[in-house]
């Protein structure tokens, strides 16, 4: 039982339930408030939150659409679900929403980056129909730096499924278009 609705500024006052999770931290640490506001002001339709009947924020997804020509695609910037509301299929619901928006925007595919070590997440995205398009070397800085999988799922516009043919060689972050 969940209400999925657009994320609002005020949600930032109470999304600690989701954001104190140590994995969520890595993405916003250097950007702070600006990071969220940037997405809210530019792609509000891509920023959705799931709320429990008791008012708890259960999780949120943020993303954007970008690229030219056949590279026009939806991108998942962050997806985070509170530990208390795991195993309810919430991530899948939020992903489906983002894919539907990208379909409406007539995008070719949806993509996302995930740590290669995050097996749980990689498996989940695989179940949702995503495949590894390429490996990005040392995408996540840290000690040591970690590689990312760039995972993709083709949308209906990409009838030939060209966007998801895996690259044979890994790429460097600076070579990402």
């Amino acid at each position: 039982m969940t209400t999925v609705r657009p994320f609002t500024c005020d949600d930032m006052f109470r999304f600690n339930n989701v954001n104190l999770d140590p994995l969520t931290e890595t993405l916003d640490v250097q950007y702070g408030l600006a990071f969220y506001l940037q997405y809210l002001s530019h792609w509000p339709e891509y920023f959705q939150v799931a709320e429990a009947p008791n008012g708890d924020l259960m999780g949120y997804i943020m993303g954007k659409s970008e690229g030219h020509g056949e590279n026009w695609h939806g991108h998942v910037t962050a997806l985070s679900v509170s530990m208390d509301y795991r195993r309810l299929g919430l991530a899948a619901t939020l992903m489906a929403g983002l894919e539907a928006v990208s379909e409406k925007k007539w995008a070719y595919f949806v993509d996302l980056f995930v740590r290669v070590s995050n097996k749980v997440a990689v498996d989940m995205y695989t179940r949702l129909g995503y495949c590894v398009y390429r490996r990005v070397l040392e995408y996540y800085s840290g000690d040591p730096d970690e590689d990312a999988f760039d995972m993709r799922k083709a949308l209906s516009r990409d009838t030939a499924k060209k966007s998801v043919v895996p690259l044979t060689h890994p790429v460097r972050p600076e070579d990402l278009e």
Partner: protein, 952 residues
């Protein structure tokens, strides 16, 4: 164009290498000394190097030249932003536009400059100029949005009669010649119509516009918006049909269920019956029951089942007989979802909603013992669950066979605790429960042995149950060994579940409760509180640390908080501008409100005040320091006045989940009460800072720096006079009944007591400071006429202050001689010691910063006038005060700031409980370390002030 390559310099600035940037800018200026862009870059580098005055001088010269070059203007914009002079951005672009009125780029920058000032009227004027210059639709809609914001910001009447109709007229005019095509335009039109309560027209827009095909809208946006409008129009039947459709597609969406049921309430109330061809409307609750049951049958998601419970609740409320007992539905829910961690949260919510009406006496009670109110269905449900657990569990084993079974068991125990089933257990039985929970916790760890360090242990909730029960036991028995044991359990759980923030937050609260705020600070650091969390969670650390004298740790937190508030002030404006650029109009009012909440933040005001106080007390070792700090703060107080009214409470309490229903019900009230108390505490602190700083302009500079006497208070400062401030403090004090303050740290999830409690316990400290402050104006009066001696005040200076302070130290010593016996008493001791030392520091500050210069001057006047009169007495009395204070500091205060170890009996009692695998002594050592650190910092501060006094 800039004319010369400034990129190198800009790059250095981007990378934060400001020194290099400055050198680069100067190099550029050697080649081309008039380059505006290079000068602007130099100004920016100077700002970032802290050379504000130099920078402002350069900016002023460029400003006079009214630049039109884009790079120069943009660099100046950044400068003014960083200097918080947003109005200057408007002015430079106004100047530029005057020179080049047909420059679209400049005009659009001017528009953005007005956005920064939230000057909606000017925004509109510029937007329309832009549209006239280049008839682009977005400009036109910027103009309309600006009027809309004027309406939002103005009084209802004006908004209704003027702004909204004007905005509507503009859109209609546009629509006569064009179609509304872009999503942004349609959104704005809808916002406008809704605000004007023209719901039918809004519906038409949604029906006819191409919005349903417009890209970017989320999922059900159009049908949902339509259904909501229908509800506003009381078109319940139509709304009902739409929500049914929506639910058929997304049966898990809770908000749809609620609204669907609200339409039925509407239909019932209006006595609606279906006419011909009006099928498909569920207008009774039995119909709703059938509908949600059909959704339940489709797939097992939580939504329809919880909705079914909600339908049954509404039916019971409306006295409609139900074939299916409620307990069955609840039990089915448990059977389907009991193995998921969220089941307890859902069921407690559902059972809560079945509860008594909101006016139940429980809800109106704050503090005291609460009896939990259990919905009548609970015992039945719990029995059913219990039986089912027994039937599935292996009778030979005490423990669950797998994780799912464990979750099911957890769910039941959590519910029972929540609804008060264990409240009446005897202490022995409760202790038995605690042991069982911990055994189960240990056993459950095996189900999580493959988890990553970033995951939480599935069995952590057992530990929380034990914690809840132990805290009950502490309340019941008063034995602090339970408190230490609670902390030990949590510390142990943290080892197994190093990322679980619930554990950390509880530890923070508990360490604060026993005054070991240094330990809570260490735990807090692992939470990695950042950006807006400073605002929502910072309260857990700053005030508690300050309350026990740990100002160096608090200082670090305060500094990061302040950086957040400053950068956020800039960031939110930048994104307000983005909203216009990207046409995200509906986010604009939202962002404006958000900004306001952050600017009016109580936490922000509080940390600013504490920072000022810290500077006053801890950064003053010599007379020169005192003069410098006072002068700086005087400027600061005038430049950055704090909001005192409309303060906003942005603390996040939802992160804390009360274990008991009674506690949960009290939370909103406790939050409000705590906020009121925190506001008062802030005001008192702010006034105190003002009073301390007020000495400088009123007396200090007046008397010494300018060499001329200021006859009246406040003549050189815009701040209120000292007497005024003292009066305000006294009236605040008189208005509070200290016994009405919240003293309780429980429920642990509530905000807890404010520092006012400790303050009123030590009220004499504050009164003493006020009495010393009053000597300033008296000495000023004497300078006017040295014969006007006031016996009472002379006496005060000669002996009363000393006697009073000595009395405070003595009573502190007496009160706390035997206090090391208990943890809570230790917290009180540290709070009292903090007040004692702060008072000493404040008195020293007033003596050195205000009284000493005045007495010195008085002596000079007397000498000049050759009057060997009573003024000499004043001077003698002052000398006596100074030496007395020095003596008190070294002979009374410093020796009193010592703390013995906690009694061995405490650790013995803790170990006797034998609950943890680790040594509870580790926890006691942590507390001891924090206590000693508090005392050390307080002694250091006292020493510092002693030195200051000795420097006279």
């Amino acid at each position: 164009m800039c004319g010369i390559p400034c990129n190198g310099c800009a790059d250095y600035l981007d990378n934060g290498n400001n020194k290099k940037a400055l050198q680069e800018a100067e190099k550029l200026l050697k080649k081309q000394k008039d380059s505006q862009c290079a000068r602007a870059l130099k100004a920016l580098a100077l700002i970032r190097l802290g050379r504000i005055e130099d920078s402002e001088a350069i900016l002023a010269t460029i400003f006079d030249e009214s630049p039109v070059d884009d790079s120069t203007l943009q660099t100046m914009t950044i400068c003014y932003r960083e200097l918080h002079k947003l109005e200057m951005i408007v002015k430079i672009y106004e100047g530029a536009v005057k020179k080049e009125p047909r420059n679209e780029e400049l005009l659009s920058h001017l528009f953005m400059a007005h956005v920064r000032m939230e000057d909606y009227k000017s925004q509109n004027i510029v937007a329309m100029k832009l549209y006239k210059l280049r008839p682009k639709t977005p400009y036109y809609f910027w103009g309309i949005m600006s009027i809309f914001m004027q309406a939002v910001a103005s009084k209802v009447e004006l908004s209704k009669t003027m702004y909204l109709p004007l905005a509507e007229k503009m859109i209609k005019k546009y629509m006569e010649e064009n179609d509304l095509e872009a999503e942004a335009e349609i959104q704005l039109y809808l916002m406008l119509l809704e605000r004007m309560e023209k719901y039918e027209e809004a519906l038409k827009v949604l029906d006819n516009s191409p919005l349903k095909d417009v890209t970017g809208c989320y999922l059900d946006y159009v049908p949902l918006r339509k259904a909501e409008l229908m509800m506003k129009l009381n078109w319940w039947d139509k709304a009902n049909r739409t929500f049914k459709e929506l639910l058929s597609n997304t049966p898990d969406q809770w908000s749809y269920h609620l609204k669907y049921l609200d339409t039925i309430a509407g239909l019932q109330e209006s006595g609606w019956t279906p006419g011909e061809g009006e099928g498909g409307v569920d207008h009774t609750y039995p119909m709703a029951l059938e509908f949600v049951s059909s959704l339940c049958a489709r797939q097992p998601t939580r939504g329809p089942y919880l909705a079914k419970i909600e339908v049954l609740r509404r039916m019971a409320q409306a006295n409609i007989s139900i074939d299916e007992p409620l307990v069955e539905t609840l039990f089915t829910f448990y059977q389907l979802f009991g193995h998921k961690p969220g089941c307890y949260l859902d069921l407690s919510f559902a059972l809560d909603s079945l509860d008594l009406p909101a006016s139940s006496p429980v809800l109106s009670q704050v503090g005291g013992v609460l009896s939990s109110v259990t919905p009548p269905v609970c015992p039945q449900l719990f029995d059913r669950i219990h039986t089912s657990l027994q039937s599935t569990q292996d009778p030979a084993s005490k423990f669950p066979a797998d994780m799912n079974e464990m979750q099911r068991h957890l769910c039941l125990i959590q519910l029972r605790l929540y609804f008060g089933d264990y409240d009446s257990l005897s202490p022995e039985d409760k202790m038995g429960m605690v042991r069982e929970m911990m055994e189960r916790y240990q056993h459950g760890l095996q189900f999580g042995k493959d988890l990553l360090a970033t995951d939480y242990q599935w069995s952590d909730n057992y530990c929380f149950l034990a914690v809840g029960l132990l805290l009950d036991l502490w309340q019941q028995t008063g034995s602090e060994s339970h408190l230490v044991q609670t902390i030990s359990l949590l510390e142990q759980a943290l080892q197994h579940s190093p990322s679980n923030f619930h554990i950390k937050l509880m530890l923070v609260k508990l360490y604060n409760l026993v005054g070991a705020c240094g330990a809570s600070h260490s735990v807090g650091k692992t939470l990695d509180i950042k950006h807006i969390q400073q605002e929502t969670l910072g309260y857990l650390f700053c005030q508690p640390l300050l309350s026990v004298g740990l100002s160096s740790m608090a200082g670090q937190l305060i500094a990061t908080s302040q950086r957040f508030f400053t950068s956020n002030h800039k960031d939110t404006l930048d994104y307000l501008i983005s909203c216009y650029k990207f046409g995200s109009f509906n986010k604009i009012p939202e962002l404006v409100t958000f900004r306001k909440k952050l600017s009016n933040s109580l936490h922000s005001a509080m940390v600013t005040t504490e920072q000022r106080l810290h500077e006053l007390l801890s950064e003053t070792q010599s007379q020169q320091d005192v003069s410098r700090v006072l002068a700086n703060l005087d400027k600061d107080l005038q430049k950055r006045p704090l909001y005192l009214e409309d303060l906003s409470d942005n603390r996040d309490l939802s992160i804390f989940r009360p274990w008991k229903k009674g506690d949960r019900a009290m939370m909103p009230r406790l939050k409000t009460k705590s906020f009121e108390e925190e506001v008062l505490w802030f005001k008192l602190r702010h006034l105190l800072v003002q009073a301390l700083v007020g000495m400088v302009d009123n007396h200090h500079t007046g008397a010494v720096r300018n060499g001329e006497l200021q006859a009246t208070n406040g003549a050189t400062s815009q701040l209120p006079s000292l007497q005024d401030i003292i009066g305000q403090i006294r009236s605040h004090l008189a208005a509070v009944d200290p016994s009405q303050l919240n003293h309780s740290y429980l429920p642990l999830q509530a905000p807890g007591p404010s520092r006012l409690v400790g303050f009123f316990r030590n009220l004499r400290c504050c009164q003493l400071v006020l009495q010393v402050l009053e000597l300033g104006p008296y000495l000023l009066r004497l300078q006017e006429d040295a014969t006007k001696l006031e016996e009472e005040l002379e006496q005060r200076m000669k002996s009363e202050i000393l006697d009073d302070y000595k009395g405070l130290v003595e009573s502190f010593k007496n009160k706390h001689q035997e206090c090391h016996q208990s943890l809570e008493q230790t917290r009180l001791l540290l709070e009292d010691a903090t007040h004692l030392v702060e008072t000493y520091a404040m008195v020293a500050l007033v003596v050195v910063g205000c009284l000493q210069p005045l007495v010195k001057r008085l002596r000079g006047t007397n000498r000049k006038n050759k009057k060997k009169n009573q003024g000499g007495d004043t001077s003698d009395n002052f000398t006596r005060l100074c030496s007395g204070l020095t003596q008190l500091g070294s002979e009374n205060l410093l020796p009193a700031l010592r703390l013995g170890p906690l009694p061995a009996t405490l650790s013995a009692a803790v170990e006797a409980l034998q609950l943890t695998e680790g040594q509870p002594t580790g926890v006691i050592n942590k507390m001891e370390a924090s206590y000693q650190q508090s005392m050390k910092e307080l002694s250091d501060l006292a020493q510092l002030k002693l030195k200051l006094l000795q420097s006279l």
